[in-house]
């Protein structure tokens, strides 16, 4: 089923739908200068976001390699990862609070007299870039980090033995060798940035015209052929970007280190390390601040998201709990997230077993196929499935949402479970078979306990992915089964009061509880290993 879904997402819309209108949509798209502008804007925005994320992400990753306290390291990992764990709408809402005219930053700057009038930080490109960098930063940091962590310290000693100072060593040895990580990070960030929808929609104030928004408006206007054309163009851009970065990565492949690496953290001291520490703390603050202010604002006495908060109040919590749409959305989201987690983890497990255990030909192609939903624009998936579901006359059913969400979380489950299975010592399985346990019994009593960590993390990821899914679901829900993030998105488009802050705080609390419970099953080192492998 999942295969069918992702397969249809590849092929369906190109053929039939555009044929019916005899390429008019294509013609319009490629002749109207408006759409050319949209494409340029989309690419420009993605480039800016990628560049900014690299500028912030590289020093962060580098600083993380210098961290010696294991506890702090795990905490830093979790903080940098936290944007992924918190609903997209919550994060955008946090940036609204920080960046708006009467938001935290403007009010603070006004108060200390740096500026006379509020500067425009949202409802323009600046805000969109800031928020996107925030969301995509982990995708930049972790690939770079995993390459830097494998760095052979002996090379650094060799460089210094040959007369290079620290800066020269960094520029001539460390930086070139970490380029594969940089390319991988840029690849993911760029691909995700060109397809971002919620952020430009909510923070762009209608001024940041990107492809995903054009798709959304065309769907709302029932101009589906044009939406399909845009989705195909978006998909093509994403694939082209992937291919280009792959090409870059391939040209770097010759630089594989020889011998086994000897990683070692540097001795402390020096003003560079102090600088790196400041960078790290600044980035951690940057990552945490929207969430922190969401929490603060949820107790705001005023109805206008004003800062500093005017008085303490629990009224927004009362309102949230009484608001029927949120309650229904919550119930729907929980049902869909639980069901799709089950489906995604079960399917991911089977696929991971097939990939790691079965001697299947074309393993690489299969793997790429399973992972494709990860890099495919969510909006494009949304519209493709939307059209497919209309054809199948199952649009808006809860079952269809469960399957779509499962398809979107499958890559996470697959990556994590494959990584865990690869780590399982095959001799343990052989030992079990030798002692008389058949394949099923062996899987149950030997393999499964070994991959418990990966299983828990995969389930958490799948659950959160589904629970937060907005950009594809927005095409697929009906009023009767609208999920919570969609309700929040719709609410945020209309109202600006701390209700959402209260709801977001509750969600953040729930996520923290979920993560803490999950961490009880997983040791920090295992988590770090899983993360570094991604």
């Amino acid at each position: 089923m999942l295969l069918l879904f992702s397969y249809s997402a590849f092929t369906f819309r190109g053929g039939q739908l555009t044929e019916e209108v005899s390429f008019l949509a294509w013609q319009k798209f490629f002749t109207d200068p408006f759409y050319f502008g949209v494409v340029t804007k989309t690419l420009q925005l993605a480039l800016e976001v990628t560049a900014a994320a690299l500028l912030i992400g590289y020093p962060t990753a580098y600083a993380l390699t210098k961290v010696r306290s294991a506890k702090f390291l795990v905490a830093a990992y979790i903080i940098i990862f936290s944007p992924l764990l918190v609903s997209l709408v919550v994060r955008v809402y946090g940036w609204l609070l920080l960046l708006s005219d009467n938001g935290v930053i403007n009010q603070a700057l006004l108060a200390i007299g740096v500026i006379a009038a509020p500067i425009r930080l949202i409802y323009n490109e600046t805000g969109v870039v800031i928020a996107l960098v925030h969301i995509l930063l982990p995708f930049m940091v972790f690939p770079i980090l995993s390459v830097l962590l494998q760095f052979d310290h002996a090379l650094r000693e060799a460089a210094s033995d040959l007369g290079a100072n620290r800066l020269q060593t960094f520029l001539r040895v460390v930086l070139p060798m970490s380029l594969p990580g940089v390319v991988a990070g840029c690849q993911i960030v760029f691909t995700l940035a060109i397809s971002a929808f919620v952020t430009p929609e909510l923070l762009g104030g209608g001024k940041v015209q990107v492809l995903s928004r054009a798709i959304w408006f065309n769907v709302v206007d029932v101009n589906w052929p044009l939406a399909a054309v845009e989705a195909i163009v978006l998909l093509a851009l994403a694939l082209a970007a992937l291919a280009l970065f792959d090409l870059a990565a391939r040209s770097l492949r010759a630089m594989r280190p020889t011998g086994s690496p000897r990683p070692r953290r540097d001795s402390p001291g020096g003003f560079i390390d102090a600088f790196l520490r400041i960078v790290l703390f600044a980035v951690l603050a940057f990552v945490l601040s929207p969430l922190v202010f969401v929490v603060i604002n949820s107790f705001n006495g005023s109805a206008f998201n004003s800062f500093p908060p005017q008085g303490f109040s629990m009224q927004w919590y009362q309102f949230v709990l009484g608001y029927a749409q949120f309650r229904e959305g919550m119930v729907n989201s929980l049902i869909i997230a639980s069901a799709s987690t089950l489906v995604a983890v079960a399917a991911g497990m089977l696929a991971a077993l097939a990939l790691t255990r079965g001697g299947i030909r074309g393993r690489g192609i299969l793997n790429a196929f399973f992972l494709s939903p990860l890099v495919m624009p969510r909006v494009a998936i949304g519209i493709a499935v939307f059209i497919l579901l209309i054809r199948l006359r199952v649009l808006g059913t809860t079952g269809s949402l469960v399957l779509v969400h499962a398809m979107l979380s499958l890559p996470f489950a697959l990556v994590l479970l494959t990584a865990s299975l690869v780590n399982v010592n095959r001799t343990l399985e052989e030992a079990s078979m030798d002692l008389g346990a058949g394949p099923l019994r062996t899987f149950w009593s030997v393999t499964l306990p070994q991959i418990r960590a990966g299983l828990v993390v995969a389930a958490v990821f799948a659950f959160i992915t589904s629970f937060d899914e907005t950009e594809a679901s927005i095409f697929l829900v009906r009023p009767s089964n609208t999920t919570l993030p969609i309700q929040m998105f719709l609410y945020l488009e209309q109202y600006q009061n701390p209700t959402l802050a209260a709801l977001s705080t509750l969600l953040i609390a729930a996520t923290i509880i979920l993560v803490v419970v999950a961490l009880r099953f997983v040791r920090g080192a295992e988590l770090a290993r899983l993360v570094a492998r991604r």
Binding site: N425, L428, E430, A431, S432, M433, D434, L435, G436, P449
Partner: protein
């Protein structure tokens, strides 16, 4: 001995078993029978096919050709979990998420034996391996030697027809290894179980095994009791692999009246008690260093060969000399350090050995 008779007394029998991986033939037409209750060693350098042979016995590899019989039943297609064999893995492969008791009980639980029986069997086998009282220990709380014993107990408790051991002592340090060798041999005697033991360490094989099969390039080079293999190696490879030796290319000159052959090695002539040679033939002989007597040149025996000491190495209880006997013929000689006369480099000496010491090799 007829084929049927062989099968009756053999627990495991391999007939012309071959296993190839792509173009590489790991096991090449190997035939052997392992007798009930014996300690059998498969010995050879890495890559000789000994581990693959063992894995074929355990059921992890399927023969590409030939047949394998377990207690007279053909088991080519029987998966490991339906075979009465158990394997002690080189990396031990103890389940890290279970304690000692659960590890040892695993096989019995899988077979759904009653809990009371399991408890009894586990207790007995833990006593056998001297680990009584360790039931609730986790794997990381055990020393290397203790982990070793858990691995053996986990296999033995299933009362396998054959216990297969894949270099189980490889990871231990020398002292512990020697101790575990003695313990393994004792366990094997007490339990009466047939052991098939894979090792690349000839000392280990000689010390423990009742019979040894030396493997080379996927084939069995020689099979026999350790003493026999040591004293009568069949090939240059076996002679070299088991212990230290002098391999000397010789030409057969003559046959003596007593049936001994007169050999010539670079002009040095000596006798060998091997009948199967024709004059003019080129062969190799193996001459163990400890079979050679070394004496001062002035005290030379009539059959002695004069030479010059070129190197002396002190090995503790033994002393090793290299003696140049003729142009291109240098012999290694080993003597007891305290019982023999001592020589220095460049000393003139005389070497002698009985005709039975020169073992004529097949290749």
């Amino acid at each position: 001995m007829s084929a049927d008779a062989a099968r009756a007394s053999d627990v495991i029998e391999l007939r012309e078993v071959t296993r190839s991986f792509g173009d590489v033939v790991a096991v090449d037409h190997v035939s052997l029978g392992i007798r009930q209750g014996e300690f059998f060693a498969l010995l050879g350098p890495s890559g000789c096919g000994k581990t693959t042979t063992l894995r074929i016995m355990a059921g992890f590899e399927r023969p590409s050709g030939g047949d394998i019989y377990l207690r007279g039943r053909r088991v080519n297609d029987v998966p490991p979990y339906r075979r009465e064999t158990n394997l002690v893995f080189q990396q031990l492969a103890l389940f890290p998420h279970m304690d000692v008791y659960d590890n040892v009980a695993f096989g019995l639980r899988v077979k759904r034996r009653p809990a009371a029986d399991i408890a009894g069997s586990v207790r007995r086998v833990l006593q056998l391996v001297d680990l009584a009282g360790y039931e609730r220990r986790r794997m990381h709380e055990l020393s290397g030697g203790q982990q070793q014993r858990v691995a053996i107990a986990r296999a033995l408790v299933n009362e396998p027809a054959v216990l297969l051991l894949d270099e189980p002592l490889g990871a231990l340090d020398l002292k512990l290894r020697l101790q575990m060798q003695r313990e393994l041999k004792a366990m094997q005697r007490r339990s009466g179980t047939t052991f098939v033991y894979v090792t690349h360490d000839q000392g280990e094989a000689l010390a423990m095994a009742d019979r040894v099969a030396v493997m080379q390039l996927g084939k069995i080079a020689q099979l026999g009791a350790p003493e026999h293999i040591y004293s009568r190696p069949a090939t240059r490879f076996v002679a070299h692999f088991i212990g230290d030796t002098n391999i000397i290319p010789v030409t057969v000159r003559d046959r003596g009246a007593d049936g001994a052959a007169i050999l010539d090695a670079n002009g040095v002539r000596f006798a060998a008690t091997d009948a199967d040679m024709r004059p003019g033939e080129m062969r190799h002989i193996s001459l163990r260093p400890e079979k050679i007597r070394i004496a001062a040149a002035h005290a030379a025996r009539p059959d002695g060969h004069g030479g010059t000491v070129t190197d002396v190495t002190f090995l503790g209880p033994l002393t090793r000399y290299e003696v140049s006997v003729a142009e291109g013929l240098r012999l290694v000689v080993q003597t007891q350090t305290d019982s023999e006369e001592h020589f220095r480099k460049d000393d003139r000496v005389s070497l002698s050995w009985p005709p039975s010491a020169a073992v004529v090799l097949k290749d």
